[in-house]
Symmetry: C2
Subunit: 383 residues, 2 copies
């Protein structure tokens, strides 16, 4: 980042043009005035989708114009369109397949140490890891909405966070909710966190509160699916793996050296109803409803003990668990309704009564807002 007339210019290179990436570009454009008042200018120098890279001609001093960024969003909102469709607008270069990584690293080398470059990963791919590790060595900052690079092998994770001040990943847990920022603050102030409990899936939160109200699991999941609240294959939500990834990110954040294999994950469906045994259609048509009675009984059993059933992660002692838990009705987690996320932190300062952070924990708008807050936050490094 460079100062010009006391404006701090932050070059940004975006990996991933899905919903979050496009929303980020929209936010960058709509925040121009706000950021300008704070002496900030975000200069988007390049945008990657899964196969190609669109790069501004003059990487050293120019960024895409706002109309062009809006056009990128328009083009990429159609799943069949390629970034190459924008080449005829001029002022940009286009790279494809094998050329992309080399070009990204060239840009990172040019900008990283001299002016700083924020490489922002809004993809959902595990294949960005190679690029991310290298751009860190080139002096760039890394901002992640993508959980995969943080849930990889511990050696790769260590490399990613080797300079903790140059990486931010708020939107990987609870979307834009300030969970990572808050945990980081508590930990660096010497107040060790000894217990974290969280409801980190909007979908599973919604499902469990509806089932508590007497509806059948299959009924709730199908309704949620028709509203677009679940993944195309609802087992991607019901397996708990997405929650497990978030739990791993939180556990590593407080210093635990664990991997995905160390997490006990309770899936809401048995293996014989899994993707290896049954198609999505069959699961929805026959498998799903076979889970109804069992879950209903567990909800009733919890209720008879004055508790409620929630799908949560618990990080405590030496155990990181993800699954159904009976929790007190009058706790933040017990009271949770609908799709809000909640995280409770217990530490020396928050011992009897936890620090609670609650709110919408999904959606492209809030996820991209969290990414943008991270980009602004990390720019202090370069003022």
């Amino acid at each position: 980042m460079t100062k010009a007339n006391s404006t701090i210019v932050i070059p940004v290179l975006l990996l991933g043009c899905g919903g979050v990436g496009r929303q980020l570009l929209h936010h960058i454009v709509s925040c121009r005035d706000l950021h300008s008042k704070r002496g900030l200018l975000l200069r988007v120098v390049g945008v990657c989708d899964s196969r190609s890279l669109l790069l501004v001609n003059d990487v050293i001093s120019k960024g895409f114009e706002d109309a062009f960024l809006t056009e990128i969003c328009r083009i990429k909102s159609s799943s069949t369109s390629s970034l190459s469709a924008l080449l005829d607008r001029g002022h940009c270069q286009f790279f494809h397949d094998a050329e992309v990584t080399a070009k990204v690293l060239e840009v990172a080398g040019m900008l990283g140490r001299s002016t700083g470059l924020s490489v922002v990963d809004c993809s959902a791919s595990s294949e960005t890891m190679g690029i991310l590790k290298q751009v860190i060595d080139l002096g760039c900052c890394v901002i992640l909405a993508n959980k995969k690079p943080l849930t990889c092998e511990i050696e790769d994770y260590d490399k990613l966070i080797s300079n903790f001040r140059r990486i931010r990943f708020e939107s990987t847990v609870g979307a834009g909710l300030p969970v990572i920022a808050s945990v980081t603050r508590v930990v660096t102030s010497g107040d060790p966190i000894h217990r974290m409990v969280g409801s980190l899936s909007g979908t599973l939160g919604y499902v469990m509160s509806e089932v508590e109200d007497g509806k059948l699991l299959s009924e709730v999941v199908l309704a949620a699916k028709s509203l677009g609240y679940t993944e195309p294959d609802p087992r991607d939500d019901l397996s708990g793996m997405d929650v497990a990834r978030k739990a791993l990110i939180l556990a590593r954040l407080i210093g635990w050296r664990i991997s995905m294999d160390d997490i006990q994950v309770e899936s809401l469906y048995p293996e014989e109803l899994g993707p290896n045994s049954m198609s999505t259609e069959d699961f929805i048509r026959t498998g799903l409803s076979s889970l109804d009675i069992d879950l209903q009984e567990r909800v009733h059993a919890a209720s008879s003990r004055g508790k409620v059933l929630r799908y949560v992660c618990i990080i405590e002692g030496s155990k990181c668990q993800v699954g159904l838990q009976e929790l007190p009705k009058d706790s933040s987690l017990g009271r949770l309704r609908g799709s809000d996320n909640v995280v409770e932190l217990y530490s020396r300062c928050y011992k009897n009564s936890p620090l609670v952070i609650q709110g919408a924990g999904a959606g492209n708008d809030t996820t991209a807002a969290g990414v943008l807050a991270d980009i602004i936050d990390v720019q202090d490094l370069f003022q």
Copy 2:
């Protein structure tokens, strides 16, 4: 701050040796290992109480040793002891009364621009403003636990926050709870906050939940006072002025250009029972109980409407109000019990369901932890 063997050294000058200031010194000492692992070294170069300044001999390269910092805490925990008692330990200089400000500014001038200096105000004084404005001009960072400098005239406030990246004040609202950091993140991500509601006084939160349980106001206040939960004169809590100061800090943080005079503050006692008309003793003996019936009736009236009464700040539209409000029982604020603080933020991303931050919002331990997290946060500027 300077790098030595890739360690970032953060010089700190502390104003105020009350409970929070002393706890901060304790935290700095006990976090040595933690910070060292993160490549940070906090070097305390000077400590001020209300009348004097103890300064390390070699300001450019040395800080007080940990044993000495602990000794400062020990000495200052007795209200009659002066920092001068430590002079015979050597390695330090002592300045008194009129000399103090000039010396602080001299140190700020030496360290501010060259290596950075965090001037940390843990006093409760409105008289630090002069120093704070000047050290900012000298390139220092300012960290506040003291609310007074942020609730002053708007011109002075503008000066203080003229470089927003060099000032932090998390612990002025909700102690160490990440309220300011979260509001800042939401605002800078272009998600404008249109409503904030908060229960920001642990004392009044406790009082209102006990009164709701059927106890009398006078009974609850006297019990709280005997436990040390209230100010020596409980009217300092019951007036709502402390909550009003926090409300002003939040309103200014989201860009409102208002002053204390613009805030509607409901005091829980009438003027004829105020400090100008009645001594603390008389208020406690006779005045306090005269408030019981009226409050009890208001609590009942709220309850008959299915609501609960809470002492909150509401920042919305063009109004900043502090006082009793009837709130839904099943909201975060309605459910609040005991002395926890809660803040609800409503924005575009948190529209139907607010972003909620809840937890212990008072106490020297968590307040000082918030200050320390601020010092670490601001150091990114100098790495």
